[in-house]
């Protein structure tokens, strides 16, 4: 038992690196995803096409492949370090996922609320800042935490390019005395802890959205029956798999 605790302590720097990596990816990916989501709702056809191509590519490529493309491929033009490569690759990947979430959130503003704002003589800018953005910020939190989970777990792929994040440091600790299993198990437990914390936050955020909008969210499969009754639900995907 003591041995495992020692291992956990030894792995903390790796865990910290993983968390920093994930945060940096999200810091790149979320703003980019928001812009892409706006573009997907835009009237400009060419803009939508460009963004759809971006989204389809980065959602269609395996994350590992994107990471290799950046880490090995960009050396044609410039030298990028491991951490930077991870941030570029997974920042773009998370942006592609977030784009779809923001697009759906913007499209899910109930039409009636937009009409009410119009009937009260709001300007376009006022409608955006006072009705659309508050709505988006509300409904978007749970799926964004979902992206955070995927991104955090995705940082484990950085092991493949030799980064010393959580998985990488577990492996190298294991290699020093050729007992790989224990540090790997402890690393897995640490991943499990962080993922569980995030999942718990996701559930809380989801409840908050339901409380405010009075709608059953689509994210938890258990609410399928409620969904059947919720006829007024927006026309976004009902499957959580598609939202990811």
């Amino acid at each position: 038992m003591e041995n495992y605790l020692d291992l956990a302590v030894d792995l903390l720097p790796g865990l910290r690196t993983s968390i920093y990596m994930a945060l940096a990816c999200l810091a790149v990916g979320l703003p980019l995803g928001f812009l892409a989501g706006m573009a997907l709702n835009s009237q400009q056809r060419w803009l939508r096409i460009v963004v759809v191509i971006f989204v389809e590519i980065f959602r269609g490529f395996p994350a590992l492949l994107t990471l290799y493309l950046v880490y090995f491929g960009l050396t044609n033009f410039l030298v990028v370090g491991r951490f930077t490569s991870v941030v570029i690759a997974f920042g773009l990947t998370s942006a592609a996922y977030a784009a779809e979430i923001f697009r759906a959130a913007i499209a899910s503003v109930p039409k009636g609320q937009l009409e009410a704002a119009q009937s009260l003589a709001f300007t376009r800018v006022q409608i955006t800042t006072r009705v659309i953005i508050p709505h988006v910020l509300n409904v978007v939190v749970p799926p964004i935490i979902g992206i955070a989970i995927i991104t955090f777990q995705g940082t484990a792929l950085a092991y493949a390019i030799g980064a010393r994040e959580l998985l990488g440091s577990a492996y190298s600790i294991g290699m020093t005395d050729f007992r790989v299993l224990e540090p790997l198990m402890v690393a897995a437990a640490l991943y499990l802890v962080v993922t569980s914390l995030l999942s718990w936050m996701e559930i809380l955020a989801d409840r908050r959205v339901q409380r405010i909008t009075g709608k059953a969210s689509r994210r938890r499969s258990g609410s399928a029956r409620k969904r059947l009754k919720g006829k007024t639900d927006d026309k976004t995907s009902k499957s959580p798999a598609l939202a990811r």
Binding site: P62, A63, L69, A188, K235, L242
Partner: protein
């Protein structure tokens, strides 16, 4: 250039892992879904723990633990098998969710209606419930199988000679890495985009039909 025979050879392994892990995950997911829908608290707890652990650990960590760590004899010595087991375990949690969502989407009235005319469990399930639940299950299962396909790339890390593995090796022996990785990237898109379109089409159809029943 990346040799096309290598791409095809790699693709075959990729598909093997994809299909193998998918089948395994379905086999594992049925008991998981049954456990998680059980009335017994303990059984529900066990099903929940399975899904929690399967999902809470990154797929790449699963593969490495299974391949390097666990001495499971045959499984650990063949990277393709290790990948199938690891990805199958991870995916089982998601497929379990699909099955649960599909069953939940069928209104309780359907069970009660079947019971009221004296149908047995088997007929109720196969004649009444599953025909309605299946489209819902299929839509999310299709979406999850895209994630599964992309995750097969991880198998290259433990040495399975699938597409990424070949591209990686080619890039180490002089092929421009951009060319090598973009080539197989396009191959992935040839699968992920059609399956994604299919999933979205199915999802839209399910949405229409279920909302029609609702009122």
């Amino acid at each position: 250039m990346l040799d096309s025979s290598y791409v095809i050879e790699g693709l075959m392994i990729t598909l093997q892992i994809w299909v193998g892990a998918f089948l395994l995950s379905v086999i594992l997911a049925v008991p998981v879904a049954i456990l998680r829908r059980s009335d017994n608290l303990l059984l529900r707890f066990i099903g929940g723990i399975w899904a929690w652990i399967a999902r809470g650990i990154p797929p790449v960590a699963w593969l490495i633990i299974i391949y390097f760590g666990l001495s499971l004899g045959i499984i650990s010595e063949v990277p393709v098998y290790a990948a199938i087991v690891g990805l199958g375990v991870v995916n089982s949690a998601y497929i379990g969710d699909s099955i649960r969502a599909g069953l939940d989407a069928v209104p309780t009235g359907q069970w009660e209606g079947a019971a009221s005319v004296g149908m047995n469990l088997r007929d109720t399930l196969f004649r009444v419930i599953l025909p309605q639940a299946l489209p819902v299950m299929l839509a999310s299962t299709a979406a999850y199988s895209i994630t599964l396909l992309k995750n097969t790339a991880i198998a290259s890390i433990i040495g399975a000679n699938e597409m990424v593995f070949y591209a990686y090796n080619a890039s180490q022996v002089g092929v421009n890495p951009l060319v090598a990785f973009l080539t197989i990237g396009i191959v992935y898109l040839l699968f992920t985009i059609p399956v994604g379109l299919f999933a979205r089409w199915l999802d839209a159809r399910v949405m229409r039909s279920t909302t029609g029943v609702a009122s």
